[in-house]
């Protein structure tokens, strides 16, 4: 590392090679002339010339291929799952550019790998809870500790449904991210959508105090099934983390339709609000959901050309605000 790299500044590997060749030729010519003048025997002269040329090459070309060797090493480490390898170079030629691109690529791969780990950790964590519930119940029933009443079995079924939903979410997200989900857009009456989701939510959470305020004529151009999923994720979040009444409000603003779900729960602080849209983040150690709901919502809304954000509610709680274009993008 400390040896000088005289050719680092040259921007082309061709020029570098030319300089190395010319340098070696000049040095060996100089050695021949010098040796001739001092009267060294030709046999030794050949040897001295060769050594001089090699020394010149070694001096000039020092560090030229080092980034390549570093890359080979880092690539081998990557193949076995270690993405931390980076290539250090001050070289400005094509090899230097390749090294820079390589570093960028390994940083991206490390990022993706870290996200994947977080996802797997969250998903396995979220699967374990319903799995533990179902297993404990069933083992109790098998051992005769609890009777196999419809209520007990319904609890097991509920756990299985939770696991099923999580698997569905995962599949949805991977399809959305792969970009293979086509949108079936149609003119959608917002009121119908909200009523349908509200009905489902009230069935799932009979105690939920849901208040809907949506103008009857409001329409949006969207995929009904996907938008249903977004609203149902937002409502499920509000029901789970909120407390007290949950408001669903839709309004027309110029060029867009705004759909808002507001709860009166504990809310989230600013850092948490920014973080929840990162893929697979969960707000704190609260239960339920693998952090997929909001990630899916964001993908769907962005596919529609809209935006989604979270704001604090007053006096407490969270407002999830979705804005969609009221007619299809040209």
């Amino acid at each position: 590392m400390s040896a000088p790299r005289p050719l680092d500044r040259l921007r082309s590997i061709k020029v570098k090679l030319a300089v190395v060749i010319v340098g070696a030729v000049v040095a060996s010519l100089w050695a021949v002339i010098f040796g001739w003048q001092v009267g060294i025997r030709p046999r030794w002269l050949v040897l001295i010339t060769g050594v001089t040329a090699l020394a010149m090459i070694q001096f000039l070309a020092h560090g030229m291929t080092r980034p390549l060797r570093d890359m080979v090493r880092a690539t081998q480490a990557m193949a076995s799952g270690d993405y931390s390898g980076r290539v250090n170079t001050r070289s400005r030629d094509e090899v230097g550019e390749l090294a820079a691109a390589f570093n960028l690529m390994s940083a991206r791969l490390a990022e993706v790998d870290a996200e994947r780990r977080v996802l797997i950790a969250n998903v396995s964590h979220e699967l374990r809870t319903p799995l533990a519930g179902a297993r404990a119940r069933l083992e109790n029933i098998v051992d005769g500790v609890e009777p196999a009443t419809p209520d007990q079995l319904a609890a097991v079924l509920h756990s299985l449904e939770r696991m099923g939903r999580l698997v569905d979410d995962l599949l949805d997200l991977s399809r959305l991210e792969a970009g293979v989900v086509p949108l079936n857009r149609e003119t959608l009456i917002v009121r119908d959508l909200v009523d349908a989701v509200a009905e489902e939510m009230t069935l799932a959470e009979p105690g939920l105090d849901l208040r809907v305020d949506v103008p009857a004529a409001l329409a949006v151009d969207a995929d009904p099934e996907r938008l249903h999923q977004v609203l149902s994720n937002l409502l499920a979040n509000a029901a789970r983390h909120g407390g007290g009444p949950v408001n669903v409000i839709a309004t027309a603003i110029p060029g867009r339709v705004r759909l808002e779900v507001a709860d009166r729960g504990a809310g989230l602080d600013e850092a948490q609000r920014a973080a929840v849209f990162d893929r697979y983040q969960r707000a704190g150690a609260t239960t339920g959901g693998a952090g997929l709901g909001l990630a899916i919502a964001r993908w769907v809304v962005e596919l529609h050309g809209g935006s989604i954000r979270l704001e604090p509610n007053t006096p407490s709680g969270l407002r999830s605000i979705v804005e969609l274009p009221d007619r299809p993008a040209p």
């Binding site: 319903p130 533990a132 519930g133 404990a136 609890e146």
Partner: protein, 226 residues
Amino acid sequence: MANVLVVDDDIDIADAVAARLRADGHAVEVVHRGDTALTSAGASPFDLVVLDLTLPGLDGIEVCRRLQAGRAIPVLMLTARDDEADLLLGLEVGADDYLTKPFSPRELSARVRALLRRVERERGPSSEAVTVLTRGDLVIDAERRVVTRAGATCTLTATEFDLVVVLAARPGVVHSRLELLTEVWGYRDGSGTRTVDSHIRAVRRKLGDDAIRTVHGVGYAFGIEG
């Protein structure tokens, strides 16, 4: 038989655990939040707490710490992650044992029984003839359950203390993890050798690395000559 407090925010899990423990003859109280767990534990004396790690209100780690701060009450932690043994068993929290979800209620029942047996044994008259053990600069007062090293008092949890007593009773003798599990925890099957390792690490952190010697491939031995 015993009063057990079950703390888990998942109603299914909590109910199933409670049903299993009731079938074993224990009196069980169930709560679903961390803060109410402390209120309940303050209101009536429990012999054992089954505690989930992630709880609303106050998380399981903090609950366990505060429970242990009052008096040594055996705590069995439930966790969704395998890699938290060290954290749970002593290094930070001082739980006595843990199970990873999804767990078997049969195993939970066995571990609860073992933990309770241990508490019972400790409460009974001490079978050790010698109540104060001295090993080098380490003094173990079995009567008052206090350990001092070079004059400084070391705060050990109940499990860590038992572990030190078993090892120090026969200095130089190598105890396998299985022997320690049987002697300290009262388990008869081989599960939970990781529990032993985590507690050994916690003891070393408190008494010094030289207090316990690792005999590779065999087990542990008391490390202080005296």
